[in-house]
């Protein structure tokens, strides 16, 4: 009722006037002011709101780099070194604080900021209480809490069962080791943790404190079984895990969903072929159902993970779709990690092409995704890889990229390694499939260098495209990028760029000829100056030097060309290969033009040294054009023999 009256009132006046008399009376009675409910705000909400107004500026260096504009790193190794140096500084500060804890006892802030207080050092002699252990478990200090636990046990202090359980879970989760502190964000970002291979190897520490605590526990609770089985399967000690599982089954100890999940995830390590693996997996699921356990996202991901390398791709695909349907019925929405496994199953390198990625992207598009599983961060990089290698589909890659940049989805990129692999695939795909101008303007100039620094292989690809398209105007920019990215000593890239410059003579404008000559000279002088000390240095072959010579001759830079020629001539033993005769012929022509026969003769001498039969004709040409006097003619005759009388 109220709504109607309001809408009418808002419309044109004459209409409203008629009805308002009737309706106003009712409206005024019903009209209550509704005060909106207070929205509770967290401590960081206002910061997040502010932060959402700041986007990523692709033309600016990352926030962590712009302390000093002079030091902004541009190559990928430079970026890594910069960030790790910063991190090392932080670590040094931590170390000083720990080593000289006595100097940091002052209390600047009230209340005291715990994060700034030197950490406690626990040894066998420390005076400890149960409360310390509690705090250490809370703070995830694995090694320290193990020490404290031992000390407590020695002193026969009673540790509550609940606390002991907490310690057991911590030890199982961390495999009795301290992880990287959460303080060191950069280290976690750049760490390339034993990637990929970690799931194959058993890393569980047999007989360590976790197992000791477990074996001493009486009575053994379901929680403790769950913890130890999960820990063992997390670190791939499957024999013991299965043994404990059977033990628990026998003594009728109920296990929880997560424990079943961890077992399901490892069926591939327990059984040998597809059928046995799948039937074991189905067994686990049935047992879950029989013990009234509710499956969760972890169960879905565990099944999909196991299927992704169970063997027999054809049936695995069927099962994947069935599993998805099953969990849809249960009201469990797959996370990005689930889709990652689906992609792995469907898009095998040696299997048939599958377009399931399209359907997945259709499903995910235009939504913001939260992290719900640790493997969620693998989705984007794998999806992009498949878009490139499996489907070679630009439109799809763009959709993936759009999804990545939607809302806060970029957080799910993972770490620096995954990020660069993601961009590598994206970049290579676009480079191969877009027209070069579009690629350079929309992609290259936008992403490089602050968001992505192309690896050597990708750079070679770009240069190759420039060569194929004859887009020589990009060469100066690309060369300066090569220098900035610290790739100027890569022989294949230098070779590529020199080829492009030499081969596309028809397209070159006078300005470009000049800058090409500069580039060539730059390449040359770099190879000379770098010779001492550097590990990676550019070794110019005779062929490359020949190309440099051509470029210098085109610019008619006689002086520099002579220097290159001298180098060729004097280092015949150390320089691999010889230049092409065209380069030498061009140089002789330039000598003729400059009227410097001695240089020409030197060059012809070099030609004969290298065994070029064209030396003779060059000599004839030199003689003809310059009308050499007696002295020069004699020298020339010494070099090539008497070829002038006949001509």
């Amino acid at each position: 009722m109220m709504n109607i009256s309001k809408t009418l009132l808002r419309r044109g006046l004459p209409q409203a006037n008629i009805t308002s008399n009737i309706l106003l009376s009712t409206a005024t009675i019903d009209d209550k002011i509704e005060i909106p409910k207070r929205i509770p705000r967290g401590p960081t909400d206002i910061l997040r709101a502010l932060e959402s107004t700041v986007g990523r500026d692709p033309t600016a260096a990352h926030y962590k780099y712009h302390d000093d504009p002079y030091l902004i790193p541009l190559s990928s190794s430079g970026k890594r070194i910069f960030a790790m140096a910063q991190e090392a500084g932080r670590k040094a500060a931590h170390w000083v604080r720990q080593e000289h804890a006595d100097l940091f006892q002052h209390r600047e802030a009230d209340p005291v900021i715990e994060a700034f207080v030197p950490p406690m050092v626990y040894t066998e002699e420390s005076e400890v209480a149960v409360a310390d252990l509690e705090k250490l478990i809370e703070m995830r200090q694995v090694v320290d809490s193990a020490v404290v636990y031992r000390v407590l046990k020695e002193k026969n202090v009673e540790v509550a069962q609940e606390l002991e359980q907490g310690l057991l879970e911590l030890l199982c989760y961390q495999n009795c080791e301290d992880g990287v502190s959460e303080e060191f964000v950069e280290e976690r970002w750049f760490r390339q943790a034993s990637k990929g291979k970690e799931f194959v190897k058993k890393t569980w520490k047999d007989g360590d404190l976790a197992e000791q605590i477990f074996s001493k526990m009486t009575p053994k609770t379901p929680e403790s079984y769950c913890a130890i089985i999960q820990g063992m399967s997390k670190y791939r000690q499957m024999d013991s895990a299965v043994q404990l599982f059977e033990e628990a089954q026998k003594s009728n100890i109920p296990l929880n969903t997560n424990t079943y999940n961890s077992l399901i995830q490892s069926v591939n390590m327990i059984k040998e072929n597809f059928d046995m693996r799948w039937s074991l997996l189905a067994d686990f699921l049935t047992q879950m159902k029989n013990s009234n356990l509710k499956p969760n996202l972890g169960t879905l991901n565990a099944i999909l993970y196991a299927l992704s390398f169970m063997g027999n791709p054809k049936r695995a695909k069927e099962y994947v779709l069935q599993t998805l349907a099953e969990f849809k019925n249960l009201g469990i929405e797959p996370s990005l990690g689930s889709w990652y496994y689906v992609i792995l199953t469907f898009c095998k390198e040696r299997g048939p092409v599958s377009t399931i990625l399209h359907d997945i992207i259709n499903h995910l598009e235009d939504k913001e995704h939260q992290i719900r599983d640790l493997k969620d961060t693998h989705f984007f990089v794998t999806a992009m890889e498949m878009a490139r290698h499996h489907l070679n589909d630009v439109a799809l890659a763009r959709r993936i990229d759009k999804l990545l940049n939607y809302g806060d989805n970029y957080n799910l990129i993972g770490d620096s390694y995954k990020e660069s692999v993601y961009f590598r695939h994206y970049f290579a795909l676009l480079c191969d499939n877009l027209p070069l101008e579009e690629f350079m303007n929309d992609v290259y100039f936008k992403l490089v260098p602050h968001i992505y620094v192309p690896e050597v292989g990708i750079m070679a690809e770009v240069l190759n495209q420039v060569d194929v398209n004859g887009a020589v105007e990009y060469i100066p920019k690309l060369w300066s990028d090569l220098i900035v990215f610290d790739q100027s000593h890569r022989e294949n890239l230098v070779d590529c760029i020199l080829n492009t410059m030499v081969n596309n003579e028809q397209l070159v404008t006078p300005e470009l000829t000049e800058s090409f000559a500069k580039i060539a000279w730059d390449i040359y002088s770099r190879s000379i100056n770098e010779e001492e000390g550097r590990v990676h240095r550019l070794n110019l072959t005779g062929d490359l030097l020949g190309k440099i010579l051509i470029l210098l001759v085109r610019q008619k830079d006689f002086e520099k060309a002579c220097k290159v020629m001298d180098r060729l001539d004097k280092n015949q033993q150390t320089i691999a290969g010889v230049p092409k005769i065209e380069a030498l012929a061009l140089f002789v022509d330039l000598c003729i033009e400059e009227k410097v026969p001695s240089r020409g003769i030197d060059c012809i001498q070099y030609c004969t040294d290298c065994g070029f039969p064209e030396a003779n004709s060059l000599a004839v040409r030199l003689h003809k054009e310059l009308n050499l006097d007696e002295v020069f003619l004699e020298r020339l005759t010494k070099v090539v023999g008497d070829v002038f009388s006949t001509s």
């Binding site: 997040r48 932060e51 995830r140 959460e182 599993t323 770490d415 081969n503 028809q506």
Partner: protein
């Protein structure tokens, strides 16, 4: 499929390798030739040489013509494809189909002829060279699109000399070198370059049919029943779950990319004050004390202090001072005031002599002390 793709990817290299082999062999031969010819200047040899040149020149011309026409074909098909247009899937597919048909028009025979010509112009064991070339070409010529690519790359790797006069003065070795050793100087006419450059011929496009896969449309496994509501996830591993949640959070915590993110991170690590800024943050003990206890301290004077006179005056000033001090707790302030009481008590005699304390006030000071002693 991807396997084929891989092979095509590496194909240019393979072909190059073949050429290298061939070149190697011919070069050996040529060097033999030249050494023998340099030793003697027989007329017959010269004649032979001329003949050889003539023959090879013919072959070369033929080859060049062929290659030229092929590249020209290529260019025309390229320009046809190269309409910069918004990506329309249907059109794109159509185009791909056209491309497919066009490239199919190139018969395999042309390939064989081309290979034959190449082999002849190179000399040496013609049959072997030809078969080697053909093997490389036809092995992978499953998709016509790939053949197209290969030929293009092939052509790219060779020099096509348009001026036939150039070939006349050169020895066989030079010709071989020119053809094989030189990087492409494949002619690009100026007119061509002005047009946007297309890449359609370069990357192998496979005609992938996008078939719709219904992600959730399959028959379910049928193990769990969706309508069962009394299910739980079993016993809870509190610490484990806590650690896992923390790991999830860390997995999306990246180096801050602006100052706000930096502040968020610091706030979460409890290194800075949290919003909303409140200068009593974390002062849990003080929260229990009402502010009047801090400000109105005269009540601590009432039991003992004279009602007037210099001591009262002094003590009131002390109270004002203390009431403005934010650094002391209420307890400390009270202690402060009571310290003065003790002090004045010690100096009682002196104070009486100077008349700072009247007789009437005396009892109060003592009485209160007795009270507090009790």
């Amino acid at each position: 499929m991807s396997r084929i793709y891989l092979i095509t990817w590496h194909l240019p290299n393979n072909i190059k390798n073949t050429f290298h082999n061939v070149r190697h062999r011919t070069l050996q031969k040529v060097s033999l030739c030249t050494s023998s010819s340099s030793s003697s200047d027989d007329d017959t040899k010269l004649q032979k040489k001329v003949e050889e040149k003539k023959k090879s020149k013919e072959a070369l011309d033929k080859l060049n013509k062929l290659l030229l026409t092929m590249t020209e074909d290529d260019v025309s098909s390229k320009t046809k494809l190269n309409l910069a247009q918004p990506t329309n899937k249907r059109q794109k597919k159509l185009r791909e189909k056209q491309d497919f048909k066009e490239s199919k028009a190139t018969p395999t025979e042309t390939l064989v002829n081309a290979a034959n010509n190449v082999a002849e112009s190179i000399g040496g064991d013609v049959k072997q060279t030809q078969s080697e070339l053909l093997m490389k070409l036809l092995n992978v010529a499953n998709g016509d699109a790939t053949v197209n690519t290969n030929l293009k790359d092939l052509v790219k790797g060779m020099k096509i000399d348009q001026e036939s006069a150039q070939g006349a003065g050169l020895s066989k070795a030079q010709q071989v070198r020119q053809i094989l050793q030189e990087q492409s100087k494949a002619p690009r006419r100026k007119g061509d370059m002005a047009k946007p450059r297309s890449k359609s011929a370069k990357s192998p496009k496979r005609d992938v049919v996008v078939e719709k896969i219904s992600l959730f449309g399959s028959e379910p496994l049928g193990i769990f029943s969706p309508n069962q509501n009394d299910l739980t996830e079993g016993v809870v591993n509190k610490t484990w779950n806590h650690l896992y949640d923390k790991d999830l959070k860390l997995a999306v915590t990246h180096p801050p990319s602006n100052y706000f993110q930096q502040m968020i991170l610091w706030t979460e690590q409890k290194k800075i004050w949290k919003f909303p800024i409140d200068n009593e943050q974390g002062l849990e003990e003080e929260k229990k004390v009402y502010f009047t206890d801090h400000v109105f301290l005269e009540k601590h004077l009432e039991p003992w202090c004279p009602l007037k006179g210099p001591i009262r005056h002094f003590m009131e000033l002390v109270c004002v001072g203390l009431s403005k001090n934010p650094y002391l707790t209420v307890e400390a302030k009270k202690e402060h005031v009571l310290w003065f009481r003790e002090y004045f008590k010690d100096k009682l005699e002196l104070l009486q002599e100077t008349g700072a304390i009247q007789e009437t006030d005396l009892g109060k000071l003592h009485a209160d002390q007795k009270q507090s002693e009790h």
